[in-house]
Symmetry: C2
Subunit: 206 residues, 2 copies
């Protein structure tokens, strides 16, 4: 069978073919609520749908300095049982301004403040089961003070060239999906603007 011709633009959205009935909250804590609904599926058959609702938006901040470097924070993630190097990120409650949340998370985790915070990506992190929203800011015009992490966080911080972080992603050494989304968006944003690509590579440790 021949391949169809490629299209350039997305066609118009179609209407919601799902019907949700009788939504019941099955679990709730300070961060998530789990609901279960009876549903009529797109093919007309009955089923159930469990949805995980998040109290906070996930906000990532990718600081980029004039040497083309960014900052990563390392912490143990008990949900997946491994140590993880990630972009500075945290939860911003609905109601709090997103850029203000980005400013706070960056300062708490790295001690950095920025003159500009630009929103570069807005995605749903796991849309088959959750409503979690992930927003990515790029922070530029950086200056460094003292970090002040939360009690649930035992963080290490390092500075690294964006190009080297992208190679760690390609090599599978960075496993946090939201960090991959954030770095991919920040790297493409930086390349479009031609920013911070002047620094020579850092030699590998012997």
């Amino acid at each position: 069978m021949e391949f169809p011709e490629p299209v350039r633009d997305l066609p118009p959205d179609e209407a919601d073919p799902w019907r949700f009935h009788d939504c019941v909250t099955k679990y709730e804590n300070a961060w998530i609520a789990v609901t279960e609904s009876a549903v009529t599926r797109p093919d007309g058959r009955p089923g159930i749908y469990g949805v995980v609702h998040y109290a906070n938006r996930a906000v990532a901040v990718v600081p980029i300095d004039e040497q083309g470097c960014t900052w990563l924070v390392g912490q143990y993630r008990p949900t997946v049982g491994c140590y993880s190097w990630e972009v500075p990120e945290g939860g911003v409650p609905r109601g709090e301004d997103l850029a203000e949340g980005a400013r706070r998370e960056l300062l708490e985790e790295t001690g950095l403040t920025a003159s500009t915070y630009e929103l570069v990506s807005r995605t749903n992190l796991s849309n088959s089961v959750t409503d979690e929203e992930g927003l990515v800011f790029v922070a530029t015009g950086l200056s460094l003070g003292e970090a002040a992490p939360e009690g649930t966080e035992q963080l290490r911080v390092l500075r690294m060239r964006v190009d080297d972080v992208m190679e760690l992603i390609d090599g599978g050494e960075i496993t946090d999906g939201f960090t991959v989304i954030a770095m991919a968006a920040a790297d493409r944003w930086r390349r479009r603007l031609g920013l911070g690509q002047s620094v020579p590579p850092v030699p590998s440790q012997p």
Copy 2:
């Protein structure tokens, strides 16, 4: 304060500073289980931790043909209340071979079969609350038969240049985070290998 020198390599992992006690299952369906544990946090203080465990691994397949085109599938996502264009993706139960799951999802959703399925990315999609794992395959050597979607899926399928999909991501028209992870990995894989970049741009519709 001066910026620290950039590093090239990640330092060794640190040990798990969390202690989990008394894990109780609070909710369970065919796709997820929610547990709540009493915890001792990294700072030594008590707390609770709710974790969403996934029965399946999320597997995305990015087909790339010799003209530098891929396929997207469109469906309504009731969790986030919007229509979403995504790479072919689905759940692969623990126990099923991942590449076999990739083959099945690609065929069901697009009718495509491939001669090669290469694993290019392995991430955790939302590691503050869930253990969901996302795996990305690039499929090459493509031939087209009949699609056969599941009853929960009412899909539209289109073929589009990878470069154009990346621009839709930059422009915020693609909102599924796993699709962003998959396309970023596939695009960088393709660029490293110098594959499928020969096709001219498709003109925009008037």
